[in-house]
């Protein structure tokens, strides 16, 4: 039932439409990423605050405290990664991308990413950010506005349906 609902919500863009689509640029994608970062951190802060308050009334040994800190860090990483992977592989849009009206899809046929490709794109995104964000510079020059992570994962970022196309 849930799978059917997700499948119904997934937008499949025909190949011809992918090539005719309007690709999103660096600034728009950066704003969407900033919105997503705010959401991720807001949820993490609320949850970690709740956990910290709960632990403050319990007498936790120092060694356990360090372990909990490590577990918390791992959970934060998992939450951050899961956020992107789940949204990219279901609707193709994170909340930030939804607000900026664009979606991530496969470059070859315009379909929504599978979980594996979404994980690959996230790993490549991290790689692209490592050399002082130099991996994002190709977005400025590429004809399809692809960053290093898009090229490696075989994805493009296109304007979502419902928004009339504008000439750049």
């Amino acid at each position: 039932m849930t799978q059917a609902r997700v499948a119904a919500s997934v937008e499949v863009v025909p190949v011809a439409t992918v090539h005719a689509a309007r690709y999103e640029g660096l600034v728009t994608r950066a704003i969407a990423f900033a919105i997503d970062a705010v959401l991720i951190n807001a949820v993490a802060i609320v949850v970690s605050g709740g956990v910290a308050l709960t632990l403050s009334v319990l007498s936790v040994p120092d060694s356990l405290g360090t372990t909990l800190l490590a577990v918390g860090g791992a959970l934060f990483l998992a939450w951050s990664a899961g956020y992107f992977v789940v949204f990219w592989s279901t609707t193709g849009q994170t909340p930030g991308a939804h607000l900026m009206r664009f979606r991530v899809c496969r470059a070859d046929d315009g379909s929504t990413l599978g979980p594996g490709r979404a994980v690959l794109r996230l790993a490549c995104l991290t790689l692209a950010a490592l050399p002082l964000l130099a991996g994002f510079l190709p977005i400025l020059f590429d004809d399809r506005r692809r960053g290093l992570h898009d090229m490696l994962a075989g994805t493009v970022v296109i304007e979502a349906a419902g928004e009339p196309a504008r000439s750049a």
Binding site: L26, V27, T28, L140, F141, E163
Partner: protein
């Protein structure tokens, strides 16, 4: 002068004229006296409270209903209003009211009374909690958020185009 030339009807006419003049001379002081007496009688009647009593009795009785019926039957109010409108009295009165301090005074009084009344706040609370109002506020908020997001999208896409032009110019790459 011989009396033979005076006809009897002339004699009668002169006698009537003389009588009328004499009568007028006699009646003038009497009328003046009657007027003074009537005035005094009215003053005394008004001072005695008799008039008030009479008016009170008249208002208690069916007179008011009769007068009201006649006012309606003969369309007195409409006729008076037509006349007032035709002569511009209504406009003049409205202008005077709007220009004068009375309206401000009445408005201030009404405002003070309204703000002091508990019923007003109950009505405001009821209206604020109504489904239609909350839905309208939610729609307005959503419309505002959509508008802000739309402007942000437009500007970000302009910034994209500008940044790409600048980057291509800096690296001497051909513009798309």
């Amino acid at each position: 002068m011989s009396m033979a030339h005076i006809y009897p009807e002339q004699i009668l006419g002169r006698a009537v004229s003389a009588g009328t003049a004499a009568g007028r001379a006699a009646v003038r002081p009497a009328a003046s006296l009657a007027y003074t007496l009537a005035e005094q009688a009215i003053d005394r009647t008004l001072a005695s409270g008799l008039a008030r009593h009479a008016v009170s009795r008249a208002l208690e009785g069916p007179l008011v209903d009769v007068v009201a019926g006649d006012l309606v039957r003969y369309a007195v109010v409409e006729r008076v209003m037509d006349r007032l409108l035709a002569e511009g009295t209504v406009e003049h009165t409205v202008d005077r009211l709007l220009d004068g301090p009375e309206l401000d005074r009445v408005a201030a009084h009404l405002r003070a009374r309204l703000l002091a009344s508990e019923e007003l706040w109950l009505i405001v609370e009821e209206v604020a909690q109504s489904a239609a109002v909350t839905e309208a506020i939610a729609q307005q908020g959503q419309g505002f958020a959509d508008e802000v997001a739309g402007r942000m999208r437009t500007r970000s896409r302009s910034a994209d185009a500008w940044l790409e032009r600048a980057a291509r110019r800096a690296l001497r790459r051909p513009q798309p």
